[in-house]
């Protein structure tokens, strides 16, 4: 097929998956915490259960004035939201939705993933710097500090998986999890649970914690911290650009949840099902896992207070990084021994 045609189709399909998924997550974020707080949550938009609330919010934001403060560095300020959104949507290029359903199966998939996901922090830093607002600046700097502290454990947690699977390609990792391998031997009865959740449980916990920090969600939402910095780097944004940030946040959540499910929960894979069926069911399976992880993220967010920036740094450098190094060591040793 024509290369460009294929490209366009892939882009459209990815956007067609990511953005609705983000909207669904936004809806969950509205409705579930409401019930956790004995509230009803949205109930007007779209008739039943307020299902159209995220869309209605989007429409509302579109009508708002797009403000650019006088003190802002206007070109950077205008660009920042798109950089954030790009970073998160870019991840989906390599996420496999089925054995053959992947936009591009890169051999160095994980590298690409980690590189492009830090791009969104760059956007955050741009937003914080260019807003010309002291709160935004502090927020942006916090985001940068957080990126440095949390990118490391994130990468190191993934290294364990890479050693285990002996590949850097995401499809390879899913295959490795599907091959029911347990350090060489394979007790088949165990394989109901996606294996890396068990084998790499330390890695999974570290990855989940680090991705919460990466997404700057409570308990690690210091870059936004509305009670301290009003809204952090988002303070000056309004209208469409704010929507982009908002969407970017949730698309980021979907993308990191998708990565986590691919790396640790077996991605699109289901036990006892052939490849042909997986090509059809795969996206559904993956999305279910993504929504499950998103629910956990949301649950955590609406239960916990936020840490302080220095406590976060302590946690990253003193606990998560040593733990992930130990995890790598243990994985390597076990791999060699068996």
């Amino acid at each position: 097929m024509n290369f460009w045609l294929l490209l366009v189709i892939k882009v459209v399909v990815i956007l067609g998956v990511v953005l609705p998924a983000a909207l669904v997550v936004i809806y969950i974020e509205l409705k579930v915490p409401a019930r956790m707080q004995s509230r009803i949550g949205p109930y007007f938009a779209g008739g039943k259960y307020g299902w159209a609330q995220p869309l209605a919010d989007g429409l509302k934001f579109l009508q708002k004035e797009d403000l650019v403060p006088d003190a802002a560095d206007s070109s950077v300020y205008k660009l920042a939201p798109y950089v954030v959104l790009m970073g998160t949507v870019g991840t989906f290029v390599i996420i496999p939705f089925g054995p053959d359903l992947v936009a591009r199966d890169l051999d160095l998939g994980i590298f690409y993933l980690l590189a492009i996901s830090s791009l969104s922090t760059l956007g955050v830093l741009m937003a914080g710097w260019s807003s010309g607002n002291k709160y935004s600046l502090i927020g942006g700097l916090r985001a940068a500090a957080q990126l440095i502290a949390y990118e490391l454990p994130l990468v190191l947690a993934v290294v364990g998986v890479a050693i285990q699977a002996q590949t850097l390609s995401l499809n390879g990792i899913v295959d490795a999890q599907a091959s029911w391998e347990w350090f060489g031997s394979s007790p088949e009865w165990l394989n109901i649970v996606p294996p890396y959740l068990i084998l790499q449980i330390v890695g999974f916990v570290i990855f989940a914690t680090a991705s919460l920090a990466e997404l700057s969600r409570i308990p690690f939402d210091m870059p936004i911290a509305e009670s301290e910095l009003t809204m952090g780097y988002l303070t000056e944004y309004s209208g469409l650009r704010f929507t982009m940030f908002f969407l970017g946040e949730y698309a980021g959540m979907v993308s990191l949840a998708a990565v986590a499910s691919t790396l640790f929960l077996g991605g699109y894979w289901l036990p006892w099902v052939g490849d042909d069926v997986l090509n059809v069911l795969g996206p559904g399976v993956l999305l279910t896992k993504v929504l499950l992880l998103s629910f956990i993220f949301i649950w955590l967010r609406w239960t916990f207070p936020r840490l302080r920036e220095d406590q976060l740094q302590t946690m990253a450098w003193k606990w998560l990084i040593p733990a992930s190094l130990a995890n790598i060591l243990a994985t390597g040793l076990l791999k060699v021994v068996f």
Partner: protein, 397 residues
Amino acid sequence: MTQLDPRVAMHLSDAAVSVELETPDMTLNIGPQHPSTHGVLRLVARVDGERVEAVEPVIGYMHRGYEKLAEVRTYAQTIALVNRIDWVSGFANEIPFVIAVEKLMDVEAPERAQYIRMILTEMARISSHLIFMSSYPLELGAATPLMHAFRERERILELIEGVTGGRFHPNFNRVGGVKPAAGGGSATKKLIQDLPAGFLQQARDAMDKVLTVCDDLDDLVTGNEVFQARTIGVGVVPRDKALEYGLSGPNLRASGVGFDLRKAEHILPYDGIDFEIPTGENGDCFDRYIVRLAEIRQAARIIQQAVDRIPSGPLQAKVPRVLKVPPGQAYVRAENPKGEMGYYIVSEGGRVPYRVKIRSASFSNLSILPWILENQLIPDLVAIMGSLDFVLGDVDR
């Protein structure tokens, strides 16, 4: 090229580095419109990165001139004003004022009225502390305790409204008792506005719910490691500093001073009631939080006892219909949810006070801010400010 002495060269390069890395102090204007200032407090903070070097609170954005207003209003009209001072515990604000006027006129409210005053004051205390229980975790980022606390607060407010007709601003106290009649007039002249039927039982039930939500809050907030990490050892006010700055109420008791006007002076019949004064040990944010939580439980205990032993009888002592207060002066203070609140009333006779001075708890509690916020981090600034639990209406009056 001249050869520099190596030591000088090192010194120079050092100097260059420190010139490059010099981060000038930034002045950060926190407020008057800021999510964590509980209204319109403005803090001018000199910050170095995230560290606050000095803070100057600027108040007065909420000044409504109540002391002046009281000089041109009758005593009855002033009661309607004073419950707006600390609007989250409206009923408790009326108590010291009416008792001061009663003192000047030398009347005493009948016992039933005093019990009603006590029950409603404690309800106001619970509702005020529940607001703290909701806003304080919110300031630290946890949004869910807010709705849990508000759910129960709503019950309390509904009870207050059922008795007084007002959720926030009851205007229920009258000189010599509580509001006696729904309206004057021929047909309903005898319609005494006593407690509505079922109130006592509803109060008992509500107290059970309040105690349950206290347990929920324990699980949700008190035991939470993140919350503890943010509050334990943060914003420590030692005992002597607390006394020096004139803190009062839970803020004082958190520093280990067990002073409570409910025990020290009996302007309401607290002497017949069995309750404790919770105190803290370290005077940090966590102590201030836990003292308030314990006070909710104690207030619930007080109400449970008071509804059991409330006597029947009249609601009003005999006072003239047109209130004329004899010349004199009186100062009456009471333990408000926020701390010590007092009114100093000077009367020259007649229907309006000559002068009213309001001693409000939040204003004095706030005076510690410049000392306590020095050299704190911005997140701690928010945590400390929230833990002092002030209301800007109470600060500016």
